[in-house]
């Protein structure tokens, strides 16, 4: 396969390419290649078994779900299903698209849909591991036979194929957050033939380590999407090629190469040198460089996240509302957002982004006010300065928190102006920091946040506050109750009301202080057109083309 070089643009390899075109023969007429860089290799290319963005970046191109997202939004639109509905909130009927074929030539039909859902439902042993089936467990909770008592009974009951093109999914309870969650790549429909042929369900535990014996997820992922899988060289690239018999609009690209570049600056530099055409996860400090470069441009990923300061109420005196209010008034959120988000952030007033239904402007606000903070602390009967242990993560950049260290340092200075005495503590993001936060051992307050998986408030508020968690260390039945009620409610208007009430309750109670919603940036060469970033991070590559040829 040597030297299949399409029309090369990359200035750096241009000279070398001339030599290669000679050996490659007539390949120069082929469609262009799009090279995109993420931060790391995918974990696995069986979407049912992954939960990370880098894996989804690839599976999103190869696989499709029953429903999809309208590009650039969190609104649900038809995918492999053209219509769907439910009379009782428990049995959901999907009308499937006709004439769709998997990459291996087998037909897409209701049997395939049921096969995929039943496959996950029947997972056993190692497959019930959280790192493997995170989204199944998030959305459908449990399995047919739960291996661990920590798992809840399943929301999924079964699937019926009515003829070729009608599939009915049965649930054990009414659910309204189930449908928007189906856009997640984990619920994409894969070729049952390929899954069986390449041993996707084979794996064994050896010395306590899960060992996949099949080759499906490494070399044979087979879906219905606009691109087909070609090869994966760990540390170097995943290569996809155009699916010429795609049912929808056929891609204008001949090839897509996704390569891992973990260092943020290295990614931008590779874009400057032309070694890649586009890159995700651009850091604020690199934005001026890209703006100055006449060959490059920035694209916005619609904001769908929140950064917040946890307050752990199991530690006195933070169980006192006045002290939590003092923290909220003592955090200079406006300056932090202004200084460290490169104009791509807004101050968060509550724990979910304004784009989502249920957000309200009627929550109490806490602008930076050191004098008021000190007064509140005195009112609570404390002597100033009040000691406070403040944790932040190192070695990480999250979309909602591009540089935790700088956020921490600025907050820490503003808290010290407001009557607190800060003790700094840090841990590397991977692996201890999150553990400390979850276990409630990350000090009195800490920096953390969340990026939404799908367009439902339950994915934000429900994740944080539906039950007691050691992270926040409080019991507040009013909040717990309203959030459970809102998640089960099937009437859309009533849901909005409930979530608005919840937001007000939460911001009065102050289990933490939300401080930023960021708009993450992607960067591209100017000639790259048609790329629409998705709020949840799964961007389709099929509409991408090069202006004026590659």
């Amino acid at each position: 396969m040597r030297g299949i070089v399409t029309r090369l643009v990359l200035p750096f390899v241009a000279v070398a390419a001339l030599a290669a075109v000679g050996t490659a023969g007539g390949a120069s007429k082929a469609l262009p290649t799009f090279v995109f860089a993420g931060a790391s290799d995918p974990t696995y290319l069986d979407p049912a078994l992954v939960s990370d963005g880098e894996s989804f970046r690839v599976t999103e191109q190869v696989f499709e779900s029953l429903v999809s997202l309208k590009p650039g939004s969190t609104l649900v639109q038809p995918g492999l299903a053209t219509k769907w509905g439910s009379k009782n909130g428990k049995d959901w009927t999907f009308q499937l698209r006709h004439g769709v074929k998997f990459h291996d030539g087998t037909p897409f039909n209701a049997q395939a849909v049921c096969y995929n859902f039943n496959r996950q439902y029947n997972f056993t042993g190692a497959f019930q591991d959280a790192s493997a089936t995170y989204y199944w467990q998030t959305v459908f909770l449990g399995f047919h036979h739960n291996a661990s008592s920590d798992l809840s009974p399943s929301l999924y009951k079964g699937c019926t194929a009515k003829g070729q093109y009608t599939a009915v999914i049965h649930l054990t309870k009414k659910s309204s957050s189930f449908l928007p969650a189906l856009v997640i790549s984990s619920f994409a429909i894969q070729s049952p033939t390929a899954l069986k042929k390449y041993g996707a369900n084979q794996g064994e535990l050896r010395n306590g380590t899960f060992y996949p014996t099949g080759t499906y997820a490494f070399s044979h992922p087979t879906g219905t999407g606009p691109f087909k899988f070609k090869s994966w060289t760990v540390g170097e690239k995943v290569e996809l090629v155009r699916n010429a018999s795609y049912w929808g609009k056929k891609p204008k690209l001949g090839r897509v190469i996704i390569r891992p570049i973990s260092n943020n600056t290295a990614r931008v530099q590779a874009l400057q040198t032309g070694e890649i055409n586009g890159a995700d996860l651009i850091q604020p400090q690199d934005i001026p460089t890209i703006k100055k470069n006449k060959n490059l441009k920035l694209l916005n990923r619609p904001s769908f996240n929140v950064a917040y300061v946890t307050i752990n109420q199991s530690h006195a005196p933070f169980n006192k509302l006045a002290v939590r209010q003092a923290i909220a008034f003592g955090l200079d959120r406006a300056s932090v957002v202004k200084s460290f988000y490169a104009g791509r952030g807004q101050v968060a007033q509550e724990f979910m982004p304004p784009q989502l239904f249920g957000w309200t402007n009627k929550v109490p606000k806490y602008p930076y006010n050191p004098a008021k903070a000190k007064a509140l602390l005195k009112k609570a009967g404390l002597t100033l300065p009040v000691p406070i242990e403040f944790w932040y993560p190192t070695n990480v950049s999250r979309p909602y928190m591009p540089n935790p260290k700088l956020n921490f340092e600025a907050f820490s200075a503003s808290l010290e102006n407001s009557g607190f005495k800060v003790t700094a503590k840090s841990a590397p993001w991977r692996p201890d920091y999150v553990k400390h936060v979850n276990d409630g051992t990350a000090g009195d307050i800490n920096l953390i946040g969340w990026t939404g998986d799908f367009g439902d408030p339950d994915n934000f508020l429900g994740t944080f506050f539906k039950t007691y968690s050691p992270q926040f260390g409080f019991h507040n039945n009013a909040i717990f109750k309203i959030l459970s009620q809102a998640a089960a409610e099937t009437n859309y208007k009533k849901r909005i009301k409930l979530y608005q009430q919840a937001n007000v309750l939460i911001m009065k109670f102050l289990p933490g202080v939300p401080y930023a919603h960021s708009t993450p940036a992607l960067a591209f060469q100017k000639k790259v057109k048609g790329y629409t970033p998705s709020p949840v991070g799964t961007d389709p590559f099929s509409p991408v083309f090069f202006a004026g040829g590659q």
Binding site: N263, N264, T265, A266, Q283, Q285, D286, P288, T289, S335, K338, S339, F340, A342, Y392, T394, N395, V396, N403, K405, L406, F408, E409, A410, S412, A413, A424, K425, S426, A427, P428, D432
Partner: protein, 323 residues
């Protein structure tokens, strides 16, 4: 003075004092490279000692107004080396940073040296099974790449200033242990030791009053070179995100962590701590090198290859631990 006169003077001086140390010192001060080294280290120590007097600002004093229009304004008459992302004065932070580098260097080398000294001299002097056991343990430690070893120790202890010192100290232990053992072995068969043993001096006394003092010169050399390596190792750990707990700490390695991020938008932020590190490390390396030549004249002219190989073995080891 003519050359002959100079030599005569030298010989007279040597006869008068006779001491190895004075002899070495004289060779050292005639070595321009070593003088340069002393000058660089002197700057470093002065900066560390008098940072509060020399620095125009407090090292943690933020001024977000200065960076409101983007990071980061370059050098000006108010801020000689510009300000960082939080509007702190880089010049002041560099001065205070010298303290941390110096402290980390001294403490970590002391840890490595003292533990290595004890293990190495016991191994060399007692010999037999104890020797084998200790030295095999040292081999095990050496077989793991130095930087990975240090990362591993910090990972267990959680990042922090003391943890970094311990990690770098531990990585240095086998180097000093091997060095000491070699020296002790060489000294053990020397005439004066044999003589002391013959007249019935007890073994610990022989070790501490006869052998160790004579084995000390390579230790001094290695100690100086290890100071240099320690400063670089801290920077490497900082680059990998394992710097001190409080990020406001003006530590050079942590400051240099941003080198990559800001090389394009604010190059001085990256270059200044880098140069500070290079200058101080170079200073210690030059001194260490000069000391080696001065203390071991055999290294200069005719070289026993084996000896040279050993000397460079340590150099290579240092390379691995920082690479």
């Amino acid at each position: 003075m003519s050359v002959a006169e100079l030599e005569a003077h030298e010989v007279a001086l040597e006869a008068a004092t006779g001491g190895l140390w004075r002899d070495a010192f004289r060779r050292l001060v005639r070595n321009p490279a070593a003088i340069l080294g002393f000058a660089l280290v002197a700057i470093f120590i002065v900066a560390a000692a008098f940072a509060p007097l020399l620095a125009p600002y407090a090292p943690k004093e933020q001024n977000l107004l200065l960076v409101a229009r983007g990071c980061c304004p370059g050098p000006s008459h108010k801020h000689w080396l510009g300000v960082d992302q939080l509007g702190r004065d880089v010049y002041s932070r560099i001065l205070y940073g010298a303290r941390f580098s110096l402290i980390i260097g001294i403490v970590s080398v002391s840890i490595g040296l003292s533990v290595g000294l004890v293990l190495g001299s016991i191994a060399g002097y007692v010999g037999g099974f104890v020797d084998t056991l200790i030295m095999r343990c040292m081999d095990v430690m050496l077989a793991i790449p130095g930087l990975l070893f240090a990362i591993g120790i910090v990972a267990i202890l959680n990042p922090g200033l003391y943890q970094i010192m311990i990690a770098i100290g531990v990585v240095n232990v086998p180097i000093f242990a091997r060095l000491l053992r070699g020296s002790v072995l060489a000294q053990r068969e020397n005439d004066f030791v044999l003589a002391a043993r013959a007249v019935g001096v007890r073994r610990p006394v022989i070790l501490f009053s006869h052998i160790l003092p004579n084995a000390i010169s390579p230790v001094i050399v290695q100690g100086t070179l290890a100071m240099a390596t320690a400063i670089i190792d801290v920077a490497g750990l900082g680059f990998l995100g394992l710097g001190p707990q409080d990020p406001a700490t003006p530590e050079w390695g942590t400051m240099l962590t941003d080198v990559n991020d800001y090389l394009q938008s604010a190059p001085f932020l990256a270059i200044v701590p880098g140069i500070a590190i290079v200058i101080s490390v170079l200073g210690f390396n030059l001194i260490g090198d000069g000391l080696r030549e001065a203390l071991d004249p055999k290294l200069r002219g005719r070289v026993g290859r084996f000896r040279e190989r050993k000397a460079f073995w340590f150099l290579g080891r240092r390379a691995a631990s920082r690479a």
